[in-house]
């Protein structure tokens, strides 16, 4: 069976201006129990890298927000149960 791409809005939002992934920080990626966050390269802007939510598989549990050293991460309630 062929696969389709289905869009989904994700609950974890990263403020690229505050994120220090370009300095080598991976704290949010490291602590996530579901392992849904990743670091990506930025095509433009002053930062070369930022964290983002790659997989919409979130328990809205908050270690990523609580442990982020710069307060760049916000955990929202997933839309389906908001």
């Amino acid at each position: 069976m062929p696969l389709a791409q289905t869009q989904t809005s994700v609950p974890v939002v990263v403020d690229d201006d505050l994120c220090i992934a370009d300095k080598g920080c991976t704290v949010c990626v490291d602590v996530c129990p579901l392992d849904v966050l990743r670091i990506k390269d930025m095509a433009e802007g002053p930062k070369s890298k930022t964290a983002f939510m790659q997989y919409d598989e979130c328990w809205y549990c908050m270690p990523c927000e609580a442990d982020c050293p710069t307060g760049a991460v916000t955990v929202n309630i997933p839309y389906l149960l908001k």
Binding site: C32, P33, L34, E57, W59, C61, L81, K82
Partner: protein, 580 residues
């Protein structure tokens, strides 16, 4: 990251602890401290810093037995009655005797518990009979405090490795086969003893929100312990005694009667009236909750809006900081305020979890399973209602016994063909060009769980579930397709969820009576003490399918009087004469 790499390596250790949430760290610490020469490895699918049911902390100890407040005899009696009598009391009694020492140890780790003006533990009454609930106002520090201890004790920690099958040989445990969740590389761990602390089967039913990860339990806890124990030939006990909990609707986090109850909050119907005597979670209480939801008096609510401002502020402070801190965000989005209105509640999806019910891998008072050298503790081991303190205490018992067991044994020899067969099973979805992704296999399995296995349980529906599960299993084995290592982890979880779903159906069909209130409400059968006052043990049969048998309840250590046996059956508030 997530690219699938081809690789396999092997390590040896004395004690392998699988799962770094609550029970696991304590098992590893106790084993290492008792024998500092022992090589103890702690393995986790996530990161031990923030893994398991208590990733963000916990708001209290729900089952302390503190001298002056409760006795081990009283607690053993309470849990026996709450479980309709189907318990082996030895593990409960040993827990009740040992947990006070663990509380003091946790205190020494820097985890603070609520104390009164005299410096005594401030224990609250929530259960039907005794007083056991000890609040933890700074319960958000639990995981950090544990992690410090693990580093200090020099425990070897392996994060992001998921165990997929146990290895056995010479009639005992030999180790485990593991897969890296970010590279798909294999790790074979040879171990003289294995302690399983893999949590609940919490991703079994589908939450009513439809969001697959919006479960009551941490959705990383997919029941891998149940599945691995099953494939290793261990006995699993009373799986038909599901976990079903009263929760904040949609948010699916606990309403926390244990926090709010002692401060005057309670569960109410749409008229704002109490309908249950006691907010402690039991199958009988859940049956009343379910009945109220189905009646014209539903929905059911958490009622706090009659309380004073300072009381509500204190409840909010605790509930919005520890355990599930996004709860504050949820209420803000909805515009709901404990001060202004009651908060709608609902019942959770089904799961297996001895933390709150009694469905788990069968263990004795030393946390030994029926496979020699294999231990289980925490939510996945069948010490009923054992909660977080039970995970710590029984984890300690497991670690202490495992480190004694390894003294006299060498590594058991296992068949290397088992490793090869497991590699082929795990990697099969990576060898196809297209197919069905794991999230669809999982969704369908869990949707069928909701349609056919949720209580009230009906024979024909559960038999339909078995037929439909077989179809989905066939798709899973022959057509599942993954594109990277992350999806491979999800495919392995889908397989675990399927195993648990099949066990849930099989165990529920076997016990032809109703018991434990809603947890095993089989509408065609009454409670039947004559034929079913026993455990049911399920294991993998010769034909590869679940096989159940009865096992006697061991003679009680603490006797239960006839007039005490039905204390938990009297949950519904009776109107007083004055009210009438």
């Amino acid at each position: 990251m997530d690219e699938i790499l081809d690789g396999i390596s092997q390590i040896d250790c004395d004690v392998l602890v699988i799962g770094g949430g609550t029970a696991g760290p304590m098992a590893a610490l106790k084993a290492k401290r008792k024998n500092p020469e022992a090589n103890v490895v702690l393995l986790d699918k996530a990161n031990v810093k923030r893994s398991g049911a208590i990733a963000m902390g916990m708001d209290g100890l729900n089952n302390t037995i503190i001298p002056g407040h409760a006795t081990p005899e009283q607690y053993t009696k309470e849990i026996t009655i709450a479980n309709d009598g189907i318990v082996d009391q030895a593990p409960i009694y040993r827990y009740a005797q040992g947990c006070y020492e663990i509380i003091q140890e946790l205190d020494s780790f820097g985890i603070r518990f609520q104390k009164d003006q005299n410096g005594e533990y401030d224990v609250k009454k929530v259960h039907h009979i005794g007083t056991y609930v000890l609040p933890m106002p700074n319960g958000d520090t639990v995981k950090k405090a544990l992690y410090r201890q693990l580093r200090k004790a020099r425990i070897n920690i392996s994060n992001r490795y998921m165990a997929t099958r146990l290895l056995t040989g010479e009639g005992r445990i030999a180790g485990a086969i593991c897969v890296n969740t970010r590279t798909a590389e294999f790790l074979v761990v040879r171990a003289k003893a294995v302690v399983m602390c893999l949590g609940a089967a919490g991703r079994l039913g589908l939450p009513t929100s439809g969001y697959m990860y919006g479960t009551y339990e941490n959705p990383t806890n997919t029941g891998e312990g149940y599945s691995m124990a099953y494939h290793a030939g261990a006995d699993l006990a009373n799986l038909e005694c599901y976990q079903i909990n009263p929760l904040i609707k949609d948010y699916n986090g606990p309403a926390c009667a244990y926090v709010a109850g002692p401060m005057g909050g309670y569960t109410a119907n749409a008229e704002g009236e109490r309908f249950i005597e006691c907010d402690y979670w039991s199958g009988q209480m859940m049956q009343e909750f379910y009945d109220e939801l189905q009646s014209g008096k539903g929905p059911v609510y958490l009622k706090l809006n009659h309380l004073a401002e300072e009381t509500v502020a204190e409840i909010e402070r605790v509930l919005h900081i520890v355990e599930r801190p996004t709860r504050g965000h949820f209420h803000k989005n909805r515009g709901t305020d404990y001060r202004k209105q009651m908060i709608e509640m609902h019942i959770s999806e089904i799961g297996f979890c001895s933390g709150h019910s009694a469905s788990g891998v069968f263990v004795d008072e030393n946390a030994r399973t029926s496979v020699q050298g294999l231990y289980a503790a925490g939510d996945m081991a069948n010490v009923p209602h054992n909660y977080m303190l039970g995970a710590f205490t029984n984890g300690a018992f497991a670690g202490l016994d495992a480190v004694d067991f390894i003294k006299d044994v060498d590594f058991a020899k296992f068949d290397h063909g088992d490793v090869e067969a497991e590699r082929n099973r795990v990697l099969a979805p990576t060898k196809r060009d297209d197919g069905i992704p794991p999230n669809q296999i999982e969704f369908k399995t869990r949707r069928l769980v909701n349609d056919y296995l949720q209580p009230p349980k009906v024979t024909a529906k559960m038999e339909t579930a078995q037929r439909r599960f077989a179809e989905v299993r066939d798709d899973m084995q022959n057509a599942m397709y993954v594109q990277n290592a992350h999806e491979l982890m999800r495919s392995l979880e889908a397989s675990t969820i399927m195993d648990c779903a099949e066990m849930a159906a099989s165990a529920s069909l076997y016990r032809t009576e109703s018991r434990w209130g809603l947890y095993h409400n089989r509408v065609e059968y009454e409670k039947d003490d004559e034929n079913w006052f026993c455990h049911t043990l399920l294991k993998k049969g010769e034909n590869g399918l679940p096989e159940s048998r009865k096992q006697d309840v061991k003679p009680y250590i603490v006797e239960i009087e006839d007039d005490e046996k039905d204390a938990y059956d009297k949950q519904r508030v009776q109107p007083t004469e004055a009210a009438e």
